[in-house]
Amino acid sequence: MDTESSGGPGRVLGRRQVLRGLAAGAAITGFPHIAGAQAKVLRIGMPTILSGRVAILGTSARAAVQLAFRQINEAGGIAGRPLELVERDSKGRPDEAAKVTRDLINNDGCEIIIDGEASSGAFAVHEVIRDLPVLCLHTCSETSSLSADPKLHVKTAFRCARQGIHDAVAGGTYAAKIAREKGLRRWMTCSPDYAYGRDNTAEFLEFTKLFEPSIEVVDQVWPKLFAPDYTESITKVLQVKPQAMYSALWGGDLVAFIEQGNLYRLFANVGFFSGGLGDPPVLTAIKQLPPGLNTAYRYNRNYPGKPANAAFADGFARIANHEPTNWAWQTYLACQFIAEALKRTGGRTEGAALAATLKGMTLASPFAVAEAITMRDTDHTIVGYPVAWGRTVPKAPFVEDFAQDDWGKILELEAQWKKAKGYA
């Protein structure tokens, strides 16, 4: 008798039919569990720059999220929900940043956005969040107006990154002090010829002159962004013979400038101040780092000198195989803010609820100058992070003697600046 083909009441089930039945039963009863588990995952989207000349910054921001999420998930997730990162490459293009952010929210089911874009892309993401009001933390843009200009305010968008005006005040204070001590009167600048380079240089000079009015800017050179060769700018500096110079060059451009300047022994006779030199990938890429160059803090495993900061650097290096970048610590901090906000809402992810929790939140952090970093409620930006300047030394971590400006003074001058700009 062919048991497999028989049917009807009283039929005998064959081995294959039993197996099929078991498989079907497992599918019916098991899949809902799997589907339920997938629904519990809390997806957080991240547009960032993963290709092109500044890809190392985007990949470092991604590694920082991976480290933070691993730690949060190992501790049980948020209300039992593990966090999952969904990252998309914007290639550094604002239009692409806006597009992938919309996709992350609308198609990929992301309930929160970590914006790992440079300023140009961050403004585009900001406008998407105005339309699709999930919680968004900008973790890389330093352009002050993003959070300072009330016309740009978005209720569910926050900045978890250093801010240009804070750095300008601190840089001005530091440079003016050195200029006074060493009699550096004749200054020159060499910065990339685009909006950030010019704005950053103007703000640095504005505050340096404010604190030390005797300094004089004798010349300024503006090499192109991503210029491969700086010889004509360097020889111009040699001709002008300034006592000090400021540069807003960054990344590979700054590496090339310093290596080419070394050939002329440029830094032996000029006091050099840089806003971007302190980023570890820049410091490690330079083969012959001259000692005594002055740089703004971007990240350093020894500053703030806390065990938790060193632990972060070690954990990050295990994932990325290099020291953390400025984008990395800022993004890691953003993850900590998000986790805390989610805990306080009991896992609710509505943008308005999370934003209400995040406003004015103070968070103990390994990166805090004192004990905590605060997400200021008035303009949704962080304060209390390291805004320090230090000097280069030949050995890792390459910068030491950090001088932190007083946050009270920074906030006071920031308020004046906001008033002058019509932001307050």
């Binding site: 190392i56 491969p228 060769d229 020889t235 890429a285």
Partner: protein, 300 residues
């Protein structure tokens, strides 16, 4: 515009020396790349839009060799010969299939190769910037000449570029092979009819042009940051040089490269905000007054 500063610089020996050396530094590296581009166009009649990517490969090959061996000579050899081999393979396997096709087809093929090479470099070396570092032999203070300063490495770089240019000129104008290559540029059918292997010659010329780009990349590696796509900016300047000098003219490329180098060096003193504008203005002027370029052959 600060013409007073420019006049003062020209009148000062130290400033003039420093800026003339700057012009030579900028110009000679540009010449190496443009000479390869011009040679390939002059003989094969194709514009190698992927030439900038070959410059990038030269820099990365040199970086790898220097990292492995610590020898700058090995780095130079790897940059030059490695790119020459890539150039020959590119000519035989890809470009030879689009000879005689319209310019758009050649452009598309080259653009595809640029993307492939850029992505290949990204996969092999990563997307971040890299620096080879200055060889120990050149870690000396800059040489002082009449109060101006010239770094030792730049003296070597300019010397190498000039030697390569001179060897190329002698090779083309004073050797039998050079005569055949010149004949190939004018009448390839006749050269073929004489029993000379023109396919081999085409590949050789393409390899030589690529080698020059590789040498330029290897010479740039100790002083410039290496990134995928780094060939684009030098390709644009090389086109300016070849247009000004005359497509296909090695001597024209040399003259135009120096012109661009000196414009940038002295422009930084006298008209820093219009240096790029001046370069393009010179190109426009040449195109209006002598469309074949300063030393290019007039069309028959």
């Amino acid at each position: 515009m600060n013409l007073e500063a420019l006049a003062a610089c020209v009148a000062s020996a130290s400033c003039a020396v420093t800026q003339v050396s700057t012009g030579l530094i900028v110009g000679t590296l540009l010449f190496l790349v443009a000479a390869g581009l011009s040679l390939i166009f002059g003989v094969l009649g194709v514009i190698n839009f992927a030439h900038g990517a070959f410059y990038m490969l030269g820099a990365y090959f040199a970086f790898s060799a220097y990292t492995l061996t610590g020898s700058f000579l090995a780095a130079l050899a790897a940059g030059a010969l490695g790119v020459a081999a890539v150039g020959v393979a590119f000519e035989r396997l890809i470009m030879s299939r689009v000879y005689g096709r319209d310019l758009l087809m050649q452009l598309l093929v080259c653009y595809a190769v640029i993307l492939i090479l850029d992505d290949g470099v990204k996969i092999l070396y990563g997307g971040e910037y890299r620096l080879m570092g200055m060889p120990e032999a050149f870690a000396a203070p800059p040489v002082e000449v009449a109060g101006g300063f010239i770094p030792a490495y730049y003296l070597f770089m300019v010397g190498m570029a000039l030697a390569a240019g001179l060897a190329l000129w002698l090779g083309i104008n004073r050797t039998r092979t050079g005569k055949i290559v010149r004949a190939l540029a004018i009448n390839p059918q006749m050269v073929g009819a004489l029993g000379i292997n023109t396919t081999l010659l085409y590949a050789g010329v393409f390899g030589l042009g690529s080698l020059l780009a590789g040498v330029a990349g290897a010479l740039a590696a100790p002083i410039r940051t290496l990134t995928p796509g780094m060939g684009l900016s030098i390709l644009i300047e090389s086109f300016i040089v070849t247009v000004i000098g005359g497509m296909g003219s090695i001597a024209g490329a040399f003259l135009a490269a120096l012109l661009i180098g000196f414009t940038r060096a002295f422009g930084a003193i006298g008209f820093p905000l219009f240096v790029d504008g001046t370069m393009f203005a010179i190109m426009a002027l040449v195109l209006m007054l002598k469309p074949s370029g300063l030393l290019g052959r007039e069309a028959a």
